[in-house]
């Protein structure tokens, strides 16, 4: 193998090649992009194979669990989607996957994303613990309903109060989107900082 120094240099050159895309798309970037895609696909294949080996192949061959051949056949049937005449065959495993994931979501979502969330919105509105927490709880109770109102009653208003309440819902969402943007900036900056830490630290040894 080529050793850690080569890996660091390779990482540095690759980082610079990807950065070059900022100025202009170029042949070096395109080559790296294609190799990257090939590697990502290879990783999925390798992980998929390890799963098939552990969950199906080994139990079939060593423990005699022959019925596990059925999900394997279903898995292979997925690839019928690449044929012209037997595309429909892939619907069988697909329907199995969709049925399972739909069941999973339905069984969990009512409690985790509906009941728990609605319950948590029923907050005690009191200014005993200070003005800001009290105002905050008021915002939770009214703001959540206003956002839902904005989504669900998006038809033409019958009363001006409806328009005002929907506007309030939109404003609350604007705060949420603003907060998301503010956090997104930190996230994206971190990714760049990480690469510069690598270049200045691991590669050039400029960071003590």
């Amino acid at each position: 193998m080529l050793g850690p120094v080569f890996a660091t240099w390779m990482g540095a050159v690759l980082t610079l090649v990807v950065f070059s895309f900022l100025l202009k798309e170029n042949p070096a970037w395109r080559l790296v992009e294609h190799i990257y895609l090939g590697f990502t696909a290879a990783h999925a294949i390798s992980m998929g194979w390890a799963n098939v080996r552990n969950l199906a192949w080994t139990p079939i061959t060593t423990k005699g669990k022959y019925y596990l051949v059925i999900p394997c056949i279903l898995g292979l049937m997925l690839y019928a989607r690449f044929t012209k005449n037997y595309k429909w065959v892939s619907r069988y495993p697909m329907s199995f996957l969709i049925g399972a994931s739909t069941g999973m979501i339905l069984k969990g979502i009512i409690q985790a994303q509906f009941v728990s969330q609605v319950k948590a919105s029923m907050v005690h509105i009191s200014f005993d613990n200070g003005f800001w927490p009290g105002l905050g709880n008021l915002v939770i109770a009214v703001g959540t309903v206003a956002v839902l109102f904005y989504f669900i009653f998006s038809t033409k208003e019958k009363h001006p109060a409806e328009r005002h309440f929907r506007t309030l819902g939109r404003w609350v969402m604007m705060v949420a989107f603003g907060a998301t943007f503010g956090n997104a900036v930190m996230g994206e900056m971190t990714l760049l900082i990480g690469r510069l830490q690598f270049l200045y630290g691991d590669w050039l040894h400029l960071i003590k």
Binding site: M1, A7, L14, V18, L22, R30, L31, I35, Y36, G38, A41, A42, I45, S46, G48, W49, N51, L55, L74, G75, K87, W88, P93, M94, S95, F96, I98, G99, A100, T102, G103, I105, L106, G108, I110, Q113, L135, G136, N137, V139, I140, V142, G143, T144, W171, V172, M173, M174, V175, A176, F177, G178, A179, F181, G182, V185, M186, E188, L191, F198
Partner: protein
């Protein structure tokens, strides 16, 4: 046969998983829980096979590029060679083998991390070009983002000592209320879509005949 059986499979598989969550039913050694667990196990196996779908798709597109000598065909060749070699290493030696790890951390990590780091440049440029206080909605968004950005950076506290508290209040109350409205709305949507899938009203996942 081509549509009806898949619809039945979706219904049966989905309903068994839901029933298992709410009821404990069993006859002898066979219980709803064991059937549900086996269904989940089968799903994992089918999902593992599905991980190769993207690779086959890439193989089809890029082998055509090479065959027809389309512009940049040599990039497609590099893609396929990498895919074949790394799949071979990953399958025969495992993804935890030194050889695989070496190329993963040496090649994939820097490229993947750097591609996403480009977003830092784009988000700065976008913030400068598009983030304007044009109306009330945009101003609320702008002010919130401004405060949160200050609050997330240690320097914010030096500029205004209360900024972490204001950021926390914004995150914990109005932001929370907005996001919760979105979560509950999405849950209602997912619930109705899920029910439509189970009873066969939503069939787009089956594709065209």
């Amino acid at each position: 046969m081509k549509r009806e059986i898949p619809l039945v499979i979706t219904f049966v598989v989905g309903v068994i998983i839901i029933l298992d969550y709410f009821f404990k039913i069993g006859i002898g050694t066979l219980s709803l829980a064991t059937v549900s667990m086996e269904i989940q196990n089968w799903t994992l196996i089918i999902a593992a096979f599905a991980l190769g779908l993207a690779a086959v798709n890439l193989l089809r597109i890029h082998s055509a590029n090479i065959r027809l000598k389309r512009p940049g065909w040599y990039n497609s060749l590099a893609l396929i060679i990498t895919m074949v070699i790394m799949s071979f290493v990953g399958i025969t030696q495992g993804t935890n083998s030194p050889l695989y790890r070496y190329w993963y951390t040496g090649f994939l990590v820097p490229v993947d991390a750097t591609i996403f780091s480009l977003l830092a440049f784009y988000i700065t440029s976008a913030a400068y070009r598009a983030f304007r206080a044009r109306n009330v909605d945009a101003t609320i968004l702008l002010v919130t983002a401004f405060v949160v950005m200050l609050g997330r950076a240690p320097v914010g506290e030096l500029i205004w000592k209360d900024v972490p508290r204001v950021t926390k209040w914004l995150m914990d109350y109005p932001n929370m209320a907005g996001q919760r409205g979105i979560i509950i709305g999405a849950a209602v949507g997912a619930l109705s879509l899920g029910l439509r899938i189970l009873i066969g009203l939503e069939r787009s996942y089956l594709g065209q005949d």
